[in-house]
Symmetry: C2
Subunit: 329 residues, 2 copies
């Protein structure tokens, strides 16, 4: 499903402006189509999940909009400069990352977003799979951060995680935390994750494709995972959350672009649930432990080890988190 | 053209073992094919550029082998552990980089090599085009350096450049120099270049595709470029050079893998033509000048500026090189 602003969108725009019924005759005239054609489009919108009532002699009225990532819905009331100028939505995809990479290679513009309802081969970090049932937000964002050196690209994961947390807060009021490097945590369980794939030369970043997967209304999840629905008992409108996330991501990105990444880091740090806790980090084939104290300007995790030395960890998996007083078993 | 070890190869192997003629009857029996089939294959080999004479009542004899990157030729007498276990050769390609990236994404093995005689859309660093007429060596090497962090990937360009210089020296005796970051210089002019493209997560390098373009017997080149032929007046066998380069690259790679990259750097440094010279480097939208004094362990160029400070340059283009005494105009 592409990005075209078609007749369906125009019909929706006209219906949305109205509290009362809008007559089919009037609408057809306005759009310069036949009433027959209008009826066909209304029908097509019903199939897309829009609840539109048609009352003889009164006309059409829109009752509800589906919680679907149609490009025109994602872009509606979206207050961004460049993110989601181009939006692609699919009911199902192998992986939004693969589609976005293809778009990146073929020259798609900075900020292009690919969303899907279901991923059949969703990917997580380190080549793991990412379970992507219905009810989640799954999207990939294509970024062309020409201002970044290759070694600065971890900034992107951090600012995306921050954007997710802030976007969810704004749309739902719920408090989500981040766990270094890029997990989203809700009530102690994994709510979502971020995968950041880079296409670069050693001295030039071509593009970055950031995959975001967040469990919103999902039910069938592994025991270590949660969703906003499972955590609160309430359903949420994914579209509203996705829009707020995209806006928050852009705000952070523009800061980084203005070489003010420290502001992003400081904010990220406020939402991180690791500080003051003892963590065990798996780094390829070794494991280190220590108290998580901060991240540095590059986004490396700083661990205070038992001997007092601070170790900087550029990459790894946190396999255990324990409050300091308890210590490890 | 794939990698299969086919009948053609077997015929070549048999012919190569012989100084004298080998009878068609004997060869056909050995390969369990008809003499008719054998003749067809000999004919196909002639079309591939092999000079094979057929003398009635004596048999076949191979006179010469074409200077073509057929997989079986590249792999013949090649002394490597993993590089060029898989080889793909094409008479013409848009870009060996694009083919290798596709191979990388579809799971091709570490060390896979793609070669071509001509590139129609050859790419250089920073999105520039790379003129790739007949007579050059153009290949891309797929590497999966799981031992490297993202910020260490510039190691790859340096060790590839070193491998090229050493391989050319070994095959031809000629002295080629390197110019940071990854130009090959012969008699003061550009002989070749290296393009290193990375596919990674922020905390895991998936694969690197390294493109190498070297002008060997090429004639039609821009004025700032040269070839071994233009520089010496002699033609060289590309196959021999390519094999030596692949071997030398592997040797450097295995050192880096054993965390002994400093040995590679030290050697690279010996071939660098910048030391003691004043250089002007363009770094995105600014330019800095100074005396090139060394590279650090990350492969950054160290420039001593007029105020005595040493500046570390991670990426950039050297736009001017001048011996120190002359200074800049």
């Amino acid at each position: 499903m592409g990005k075209q602003k078609n007749l369906d969108c125009l019909i929706l725009e006209n219906l949305r402006g109205q509290d009362s019924y809008i007559s089919g005759e009037e609408l057809a005239r306005k759009l310069k189509i036949s009433r027959q054609a209008l009826w066909k489009h209304i029908n097509s919108l019903s199939h897309k999940g829009y609840d539109i009532v048609a009352v003889p002699h009164s006309g059409y009225k829109i009752i509800s909009t589906p919680d679907k990532f149609y490009p025109w819905e994602v872009q509606r009331d979206l207050n961004t400069e460049f993110i989601a100028r181009e939006v692609y939505f699919y009911e199902s995809l192998n992986s939004t990352q693969d589609s976005s990479r293809e778009l990146g290679l073929s020259g798609a513009s900075d900020g292009t977003v690919v969303l899907t309802d279901v991923q059949t081969k969703g990917r997580g970090r380190m080549g793991r799979s990412w379970i992507s049932p219905k009810g989640g937000i799954y999207f990939s964002l294509l970024l062309r951060p020409e201002f970044l050196l290759l070694e600065e690209t971890p900034q992107i994961s951090l600012l995306i995680a921050l954007g997710c947390v802030k976007g969810i807060k704004e749309a739902t009021g719920l408090d989500v935390e981040v766990k270094w490097p890029n997990d989203l945590i809700f009530k102690g369980k994994k709510l979502g994750g971020i995968l950041c794939e880079i296409n670069a030369e050693t001295d030039r970043v071509h593009f970055v494709v950031v995959g975001v997967g967040i469990n919103i209304n999902s039910r069938d999840l592994p025991p270590e995972a949660t969703s906003l629905l499972l955590g609160t008992g309430k359903k949420f409108r994914r579209l509203d959350i996705a829009r707020k996330i995209l806006q928050a991501i852009e705000a952070g990105y523009l800061k980084a672009q203005k070489r003010n990444f420290s502001a992003v880091l400081k904010e990220w740090s406020r939402f991180c649930m690791l500080w003051g806790k003892r963590v065990r980090v798996k780094i390829s084939n070794r494991t280190i432990e220590g108290e998580a104290v901060n991240i540095d300007e590059r986004g490396y995790l700083l661990l205070r080890q038992d001997n007092g030395f601070i170790e900087r960890v550029s990459a790894g998996d946190i396999v255990k988190v324990i409050p300091v007083r308890e210590g490890f078993l």
